[in-house]
């Protein structure tokens, strides 16, 4: 069960990661960006004393880049040779006691102790050692939870890449070319973290395990078929992963209730898109339409949806996509009050709701994606895998059904 403290931690971590993404790519000077990055980390884990070090490979030593909570006069550069670098796990937090057992630790590195280091994170961009983060004692618990270590690793990766792409680092290592590919990797890292958060959201509702994950996949498949740009596809992907984030504050007794909901319980559940919107609009995400998609994922073409009862073309394509992806997954998974529909039953249901709940054009695209997946015309199937193992699943039956529906639609 997700506890309130975990939720606070989760939201704080997501928004801190968004802060970090924004800060390291901002127009500020390099030093200010790195200092801000260090502040984000120390704020996330409540560490009053910390330092960010950069690796000078010409001199084979770690130099002080920016710090917080102590005077830099205490600093002496730390020599780190290639053989030591090899022994580090990339972007992995080490406790001081563990780092002391590493052969790189010697009287020279005692600077780490003078700097009150409790946790040492060697920073790597891909395979290249670029620096280190030294974190002092925390104000909360002394050690890090596994989930915190994971977040710490993402943050370290983020900072490592920024450091690697800086001109300072290139000067220290006699490198000229910036590596664009690394920035792309960074987006993946960020995305993986959001996926991890989505798993935490889904955990609240025991009937909808991986719901957010599947909604994201379905929505991406439709958007891709519509020819959306990569950046917009990324937006709908994250929207799928986080659309139900508002559910984390709704009583899980209501969400998991096996019997019919009372009116007040119903309206409690209906609050979640608004709550998702409130939570996400406070976070500085790089995706502009994200909060709009999330807010409206329960709107309907006939205006009977919520929270804003939008109608027809007031629903953007992104909203229409998310609405069908969400409803379709809801139909095809077990719920406390009913068993799941088979793929064929669900497709019938979608067809029956065209124009009222779902947009016909977007639904048609959805059918087309599914048909292409059955035909093996897509690189990687996104929708089909969820059904392929179902008892009685027959691709030819689905193909015939899809043909009938599409013929009816175009008539």
């Amino acid at each position: 069960m997700v506890e309130k403290k975990d939720i606070t931690r989760l939201l704080f971590s997501i928004s801190s990661l968004a802060d970090l993404g924004q800060e390291v790519t901002s127009a500020k000077s390099f030093n200010d960006r790195m200092k801000t990055a260090l502040y984000v980390v120390t704020g996330m884990f409540s560490v009053p004393k910390a330092a960010l070090l950069v690796y000078n490979s010409n001199q084979q030593r770690l130099e002080l880049l920016t710090h917080k909570g102590f005077k830099d006069t205490a600093w002496t550069n730390i020599h780190v040779k290639a053989k030591h670098i090899k022994s580090f796990s990339k972007n992995e937090p080490y406790s001081l006691s563990k780092i002391k057992t590493n052969s790189f630790y010697n009287p020279d590195t005692a600077a780490l102790e003078k700097f009150h280091t409790k946790t040492f994170i060697p920073l790597f961009a891909k395979d290249e050692f670029v620096g280190a983060i030294c974190l002092g004692k925390r104000l909360s618990r002394p050690s890090y939870l596994q989930s915190e270590k994971n977040v710490l690793k993402v943050v370290a990766n983020h900072i490592a890449i920024t450091l690697h792409n800086s001109s300072l680092f290139r000067r220290l290592t006699n490198k000229v070319n910036e590596n664009k590919k690394l920035y792309e990797d960074m987006r993946h890292i960020y995305h993986d973290t959001i996926q991890a958060f989505a798993a935490a959201i889904d955990a609240k509702d025991r009937y909808t395990r991986n719901h957010s994950y599947r909604v994201a996949k379905y929505a991406v498949a439709i958007a891709r078929e519509l020819g959306w740009k990569e950046k917009d596809i990324e937006t709908i992907d994250v929207a799928g992963l986080l659309h139900d984030i508002g559910k984390i504050i709704i009583d899980s007794g209501v969400i998991n209730k096996g019997t019919k909901l009372s009116l007040s319980e119903m309206s409690e559940i209906k609050r979640h898109p608004q709550v998702s919107y409130d939570i996400l609009s406070k976070i500085r995400f790089p995706w502009r339409d994200l909060v709009h998609f999330v807010r409206h994922h329960h709107e309907r073409m006939d205006g009977m949806g919520y929270p804003d009862a939008l109608q027809g073309e007031e629903l953007s394509d992104g909203v229409k996509i998310l609405a069908i992806a969400d409803a379709f997954d809801a139909m095809t998974t077990d719920r406390p009050y009913r068993r799941k529909l088979s793929l064929a039953e669900a497709l019938h249901e979608v067809k029956n709701c065209l124009g009222t709940q779902f947009d016909s054009r977007i639904s048609n695209v959805f059918f087309r994606v599914l048909q292409k997946e059955i035909n093996g015309e897509t690189k990687k199937a996104q929708i089909l895998p969820h059904f392929a193992l179902d008892k009685g699943f027959d691709p030819t039956v689905i193909t015939t059904l899809l043909e009938t529906i599409t013929a009816e639609l175009s008539a």
């Binding site: 309130k4 403290k5 606070t8 931690r9 704080f12 928004s15 801190s16 802060d19 970090l20 800060e23 200010d32 200092k35 801000t36 502040y39 984000v40 980390v41 120390t42 704020g43 996330m44 884990f45 409540s46 560490v47 009053p48 004393k49 917080k68 909570g69 925390r138 104000l139 909360s140 618990r141 406070k282």
Partner: protein, 117 residues
């Protein structure tokens, strides 16, 4: 930085800071500097009134972490008042409130500090 400013007043050797706006970038470090300056004068009690703070992000949390540390090193007393629930939830999770006395209203903190002197 334009979104952040600090008002301060001193009552019986207790300084009360009322930061205003967004505590979300390095500009908010001024609050830490103001606390330091106050402590360096040998004064002990610091109250931070949160009523005018709109938003605190991780950078802001880091600055408060720094303040908590400075107060501890000077063996002084730090009180937070008028905190919104979102802020106290985050500070509690971060272990910051463990090192601070939290009061509902500013006057409660001032009374407490007067009595304990």
């Amino acid at each position: 930085m334009n979104n952040f400013s600090i008002l301060s007043k001193t009552i019986n050797g207790t300084v009360i800071f009322m930061p205003k706006g967004y505590v979300n970038d390095l500009g908010a470090e001024n609050l830490e500097h103001a606390c330091e300056e106050f402590l360096s004068k040998g004064l002990k009690n610091v109250v931070i009134n949160f009523s005018e703070i709109q938003y605190i992000n991780s950078i802001g949390a880091s600055i408060f972490t720094g303040i908590v540390q400075k107060i501890a090193e000077h063996d002084s007393m730090l009180c937070f008042t008028n905190m919104k629930k979102v802020h106290s939830d985050v500070f509690e999770m971060l272990g910051i409130t463990r090192h601070v006395k939290v009061f509902k209203e500013e006057k409660d903190a001032v009374n407490f500090l007067n009595e304990s002197d």
